[in-house]
Symmetry: C2
Subunit: 90 residues, 2 copies
Amino acid sequence: MAEENTIFIGKKGTMAYVLAVVTQVNAGAKEISIKARVKAISRAVDVSEIVKNKFIKDLKISNISTSTEEISSDEGGALKVSSIEILMSK
Amino acid sequence: MAEENTIFIGKKGTMAYVLAVVTQVNAGAKEISIKARVKAISRAVDVSEIVKNKFIKDLKISNISTSTEEISSDEGGALKVSSIEILMSK
């Protein structure tokens, strides 16, 4: 998938990411990937639910997958964290 | 699914729920449903990842679904919250 169709969920408010998804779909994207790690995972689910229930009723969740990623911790060691990818498509 | 094969993720530490899943599988359960709402959603993903990566390698995530549930708020009104169900099976 094109990188520009991927939304990474971070620390902004939920509606900022809802707006990002809606904007990309209105610009013609047929498929959107919403990615998040650790605590942002809950927000990713919120974003996908709000988009399909309130904004773009014909956008469906086509797949949800989870994985474990290894990231470098601040102390230099490796840290395993959970991540989620929610695919939404028309 | 039998109610006893459903794990509701709450406010305990992640490993408490990992242990609950492992215990049920060791007791013969072939399918486990892990459910969570709102902020516990991230913990539900952690639990399923830890179980399959560290404890029961032949237990796979067979489906992940999300939904929006309406719950009563403390003030008496209705509140919409996101929820997740992670199905794990052998």
